[in-house]
Structure formats: structure tokens, C-alpha cells
Amino acid sequence: MGEDKAMKRVRTPTRLSVALLSAGFLLFLGWPWLTARGGIHCQAMSMALFHGCLALAWNICSMMGAVSLGHTAFFGLGAYGSALLCHYGHLNPFLTIPLGGILGAFYGVLWHIAFGKLRGAPFALASLASVEIPKVIIDNWESFTFGSLGVVGIPPLSPIRVGSFMLDFGENPVHLYHLFLVGTLFLCLLYRQALRSRWGWAVRTIREDETAAASLGVNVRRTRLQVFICSAFLTGICGGVYAHLMGLVEPALVFSLHISALPLVLSIFGGRFQWYGPLLGAVVLYPLDQVVFRSLFPVGHSALYGFVVILTLMLFPQGMGAWLQKRLHLASS
């Protein structure tokens, strides 16, 4: 109900929201120069955008009603896929990262096959348990994946030459920041268009009522499969990028509850039902945690995330995005 209204409003963008969006875009574009170039705030915002992408990928599943606690499985598979391809095949990271994403998507297909009947809480639990399978196998397959030793010496993202200008993502944090910004914007636009398409409506109909969706002619099984593949592929890509960012992967590092939890927290805070919700959550919450909360509570600062989840669900079950949108709507009318 609330979402229907929201969609109508987005379709006729007010001048205010256009102005806000462009101001936000300019702020993000100039962020590295506003802060000390390449300093800790630029880093924090880079990682915030990265987690925004992760949250967007997670939210595709959530849009369909499938709240997952196991996306770190895709993340880890993407990271390992890209790292091992680089290690054995000496390929360009920009080639191996999508291949890692495909490995993640493959696991997404397995989810669809195995968890086809599960919904709601049982699905969440099954996804939580499914993380152990790739993790334990990678941890024990020493001859191929190096087991608990992890893969080290993964090359950083390779530089790209644009005319006479060298974009060096490994060396220059500002270039990396802008790569993430462009990636995030691209993903965001894609996401927004997908949600507005027929397919996007089918996905949301499945969340509201599967029987009704089927009677409207939505192929529920196929749509579910597509959603899992998209979400897993994008999460796998994030994992691949992470591997090249860190220069090493270890099972405990890329298959961690933290990675499953963050997109959930960010999306719930930002708003699961708006296309920009997850991103909003990431760019607000992540820097807040990293820069402000960490200096106040150096040890348990991640408690913020737990606190935010509880408060948001109790007070704004639709997330900050919906709340803000309502406010904007009131202001402009």
C-alpha cells in the first residue's frame, strides 16, 4: 500500500527531489576534495559505497520477500573464484571478478533448487546454514584453495588508461573512490529501471502474495530463480572486488556473519522498499559507525548496527527512506 504511493510519487519527480538528488550527486563527486584527499574520510566513503552495492544486491532478494542471512556465501565464492583465477590463470582482475560473480550465481541456482519451497523464517535459517558448505569445503581443500592459509598476493585492480590519463585504482584512493561511485550509480540506475519494469512489479507481487501473483500470470518459479541469480551474481562481484582490495582472502575473512549482517542492517535502516534505500542506509550508517562511533566506543562500536535494526523495525518499519519521502512529499505539496 505504502509502496504504491511511493512509486507514484517517484514517477513525477518534484523539483525539490531533483534538486536534492543533484546536490547529493555533486557532494559525492567532490567528496575527496572536500575532505583531505585520500584521507580516512575518503576511504570511509569508498567503503560505504562498496557496502551500498552489497546492500543493493542483498535487497533484490528482500524485495521478493526472501530475507537472507547467508549472502556471505556468494560473497566468499566470488572472492575465492576471482582470487584463484588470478592465482592460477594470471588473468586481469577486471575479467576474473565477473567470473567470480558467476561462481556466486551458480550457488544462487543451487539455493533455488534446494530452498525452492522455503519462505520467510525457515528460508532465513536455511540460508544461514548454507554458508557452512562452501566455507568448510574451501577450508579443507588444501591442494586447490590453500585451505585455512588463504590466498595471498592477489594483484590490486589493474590500472586503466583513458587517453593520456592513467586511472590507477590500486595506487590512488581517489581514483578508487570514483570507480566505486560510478559503479554504485550504474547499479542504482539499473536497479531503479528494473524495479519499474514489468519484472520489478512481478518480484514485488511475489512478496505480497504468491498465489495472487501466479494467478496474474507471473511465473513464480522462474522469477525466483532470476532474483537469486541476480542477487548472487552481484554479491559475488562485490566479493571479487573485495579480494583485490585486500590482496588476500581467507575462509574466515570472506565467509563471515558480519558480511551477511551488514547489508541487512543497512537496507532495513535505509528502507527495503525504495530503490535508493539500501544505498541511503550505507552512506549514512557506515561512515557514522566508522568515523563517529568508533572514536566514542573503540571496542564495541558495531553495537550501533544492532541498535539501529531494533529501533528502525520498532519505530519506522518501512525504513528511513520511506519516512524521508513522506517528509519531502509534505514539504513540496
Binding site: 523539483r15 525539490l16 534538486a19 536534492l20 546536490a23 557532494l27 572536500l34 575532505t35 583531505a36 584527499r37 585520500g38 584521507g39 580516512i40 574520510h41 576511504q43 570511509a44 567503503m47 577450508d139 579443507n140 588444501e142 585451505g147 585455512s148 592459509l149 588463504g150 595471498v152 598476493g153 590490486p156 590500486g170 595506487e171 584512493p173 573485495y242 582490495l245 585486500m246 590482496g247 588476500l248 581467507e250 575462509p251 574466515a252 575473512l253 561512515p287 568515523v291 563517529v292 568508533r294 572514536s295 573503540p298 571496542v299 514539504a331 513540496s332
Partner: protein
């Protein structure tokens, strides 16, 4: 329209105050008079205990130099950063140290998953990094990274332990238990290779995940395989659990060996009499020091006690040694070139020859310490007694439990 404008204004004011708030929270930038070195350690998070110990060792070394009047009259400033035991934070903090603060060299670091990312960034920005506690071989192998040095190495643990086992204990059947972490896994597979070469069968070779609490089935397996020596590559809490469950099940082995976590006063204190007879390893400890460095070692212990009101241990010494190496190289580079750029510092580190309480520190071509060797100690009635190598032994092995 006016509503919109005022809204945009308010929002931009909000954004501006947000941004100013961010910058106020960042540490103030000082003028570039003192020489700066950076340190990244897990000061909080799950590795905080050891991270703090390393930090104190480094801090002590820096304060020691400043007490002497600094390096050629210039004060050394230590910029400490916390990586929260998380690699991505380690990367952020290192880049900030290199970019924002502009440090001459880096030190600190505990556990390879944190040291690895730091070393990559050090190489990228041509800043030397002397890691305090790092073991994994493929971080240095093939000299991929000419800016990376470390004061410890895996061979310094495996060789003495294997020598001790094959020459003194001569087990009939050994069991290896290790934790699913890089250092422990590599240690375990090296131990297996070395024991097999010496003709000692390794009947049980088990990995467990950190946090596992029930070892009863594993201990039953040991009993079934009739293993007489257990090499346990776990850490402090794992030894506590294993030793207790062994006692509960009345499993008596000829030897229990834990390279990490046993040779600590805190372990002996926590275990009480149950620690009697266990074997551990350490590179240094108050009273266990390299021949010829007794005075330096005692001075360190006394100075450390007055400064921090506690006893230093082997981890502290690793931090101290790494900082000493970096500071010594800086002193030489300053003397020769009057400045400390990264490449000059690396040259000096490569030609360094320091006699420290923990080791004679000379880096080999890979950046590994050439003479790093730990000693095997046995806990005998609450005291650590060095039992191997023979030239450093202060006592002999006791076999029967009290």
C-alpha cells in the same frame, strides 16, 4: 518555491556541519619536525590482548630512543593506529598513515591476515614495513615485496621443535591438532613433513575451528590411535580446554606441546598446578634470553616494569625488536643521507646487524630474520625451564606428573 529554497539551504547547512564535524574528529596534523613512524596493531577486537602487548613493546623502544635525545637530535613520534583485528580497517589505517600522516616507516602487526594487507600497501607506497609478528611463508617467498621485513619466521619455530622431538622425546606416535588459521595450518603441515622425514608416524592430523569447545571425541581418537605426543597448534584458550579435558578423561600423554600460548605467565597462572609438565615455546622471556644479552634483557625488563607496571612477555619483545630494527635503520639513514626516504631506509634495513635479547637480527634476501630461533621450554612447578636447544638449556625434562 521559498519552501524549497529554505529546505535546500537547511539541508546544505546540515551537510556542511556534518562535514565539519568529521574533520574536527580527525587527529590534528602536527608540523613535520619530529620523525614519524607508524604502527598498526589490533588494539581492540578479538586479538586485542596481543595487539596491546606488541604496542607496549614498540612504545617502549620509541621512548627509549627519545630519552637518549632522539635520532640525531630529532624526536621520534609514534603514530599508533588500531585495526580492530579487521583487515579492511588495517588497510584504511595504513593508507591514512602513509598518505595523511606521512610516516617514514611502519611497524607492528599481529597475525598474517592483518600483516599481509599492510605489507601490500607498504610496497605500493614504497614505505618500509617491519612486521612484529608474522609467520606465513608466502608473504616473503620469492622476494615479491622488497619493502617488507619481519622479526619472526615459521622455521624458527618448526626447526627447534622438530629437533627437540626427534632428538630428545622420540615419540612412537605423534598427533597434530591445529586451528583453522593460516599460521597454525602452515605450522602443522611443516611439522608433519618434518616428523615423517624423521620416521615418526603422525597418526592423527586434525584441524579445528577457533571456538570449538568439545574435544572429547578428539581425545578418544588419540587414545584409540595410541598417540603418545600431542602437538597442539591452538592458542591460549584451546590449551586451557584441552588440558582440562585430558585430565577429565585421564588421558596421559608423554608430552603436550603448544608452540603458542603455553609459555606465558598468564597461562601458568590460569592453569595452576595443571600446567606442570606442559611444553611450550618462546623467543624470549624474562630470564630466557640470548647468550650475551643478559644485561640488555634485564635492563629491558626493569625499564618496562617501571613504565607499564607489568611484566613483559615474548609478544612484547617481538614488538620491541621490530621497532628497534626500524629505529636503528632510521638512525643510519639519517647519518648517511640526512633524510629518511623509503628506499634509503630499506637499504639500511637490509644491511642491519643488531644483537637484541630475542635474536641476532639480520634480514635475509626475503626480508626474513636469518637467526630467529625459539627455544622449547617446559613448565615445571610454575616456572619456565628451557630444555632445548642443549646449549641454552637450563634444566632437564621431567616426565612424571606431581
Amino acid at each position: 518555491m521559498t519552501v524549497q529554497v529554505s529546505h535546500i539551504f537547511r539541508l546544505s547547512a546540515l551537510a556542511a556541519s556534518f562535514f565539519i564535524g568529521f574533520n574536527l574528529l580527525s587527529p590534528p596534523v602536527l608540523l613535520a619536525r619530529p620523525l614519524r613512524i607508524g604502527e598498526i596493531n589490533p588494539l581492540t577486537g578479538k586479538l586485542a590482548k596481543h595487539g596491546q602487548e606488541i604496542h607496549e613493546g614498540i612504545l617502549f623502544a620509541v621512548e627509549e630512543v627519545n630519552k637518549r635525545g632522539g635520532i640525531l637530535g630529532r624526536e621520534v613520534q609514534l603514530v599508533s593506529r588500531d585495526d580492530q583485528s579487521l583487515p579492511e580497517v588495517a588497510i584504511n589505517q595504513t593508507e591514512d598513515l602513509v598518505y595523511g600522516v606521512g610516516v617514514a616507516g611502519l611497524t607492528g602487526g599481529y597475525v598474517d591476515s592483518l600483516v599481509g594487507p599492510i605489507s601490500e600497501i607498504a610496497a605500493r607506497h614504497r614505505v618500509p614495513y617491519v612486521a612484529s609478528a608474522s609467520l606465513q611463508r608466502n608473504l616473503t617467498i620469492g622476494r615479491r615485496n622488497p619493502y617488507f621485513f619481519r622479526v619472526s619466521r615459521l622455521d624458527g619455530i618448526v626447526e627447534p621443535l622438530c629437533g627437540f622431538l626427534t632428538s630428545q622425546l622420540r615419540p612412537k606416535n605423534a598427533a597434530v591438532l591445529f586451528s583453522a588459521t593460516p599460521g597454525s595450518s602452515e605450522f602443522a603441515s611443516e611439522m608433519r613433513t618434518c616428523l615423517k622425514q624423521a620416521g615418526v608416524p603422525v597418526s592423527t592430523f586434525d584441524k579445528f575451528r577457533p571456538g570449538t569447545s568439545d574435544f572429547s571425541s578428539f581425545l578418544m581418537k588419540l587414545r584409540m590411535e595410541r598417540a603418545d605426543v600431542l602437538i597442539s597448534g591452538g592458542f591460549f584458550p584451546d590449551h586451557l580446554l584441552l588440558a582440562r579435558q585430558m585430565k577429565d578423561q585421564k588421558l596421559s600423554l608423554r608430552a603436550y606441546l603448544g608452540p603458542w600460548g603455553v609459555a606465558y605467565p598468564s597461562f601458568i597462572e590460569e592453569m595452576g598446578s595443571a600446567s606442570h609438565g606442559l611444553f611450550g615455546m618462546c623467543a624470549w622471556n624474562p630470564g630466557i634470553t640470548l647468550p650475551g644479552t643478559e644485561q640488555a634483557s634485564e635492563a629491558f625488563v626493569n625499564g618496562f616494569r617501571t613504565r607499564f607496571a607489568k611484566q613483559p612477555n615474548t609478544t612484547t619483545m617481538h614488538g620491541y625488536s621490530s621497532a628497534r630494527a626500524l629505529l636503528a635503520a632510521m638512525e643510519k639513514a639519517m647519518g648517511k643521507h640526512g633524510g629518511v626516504n623509503g628506499d634509503a631506509l630499506c637499504r639500511e634495513l637490509r644491511s642491519l646487524d643488531l644483537l637484541l635479547p630475542m635474536e641476532r637480527l639480520v634480514f635475509d634476501d626475503n626480508g626474513d630474520p636469518r637467526y630467529y630461533r625459539q627455544v622449547v621450554v617446559q613448565i615445571q612447578e610454575g616456572r619456565m625451564v628451557t630444555v632445548y636447544p642443549p646449549d641454552r638449556a637450563t634444566g632437564s625434562i621431567v616426565t612424571e606428573s606431581p
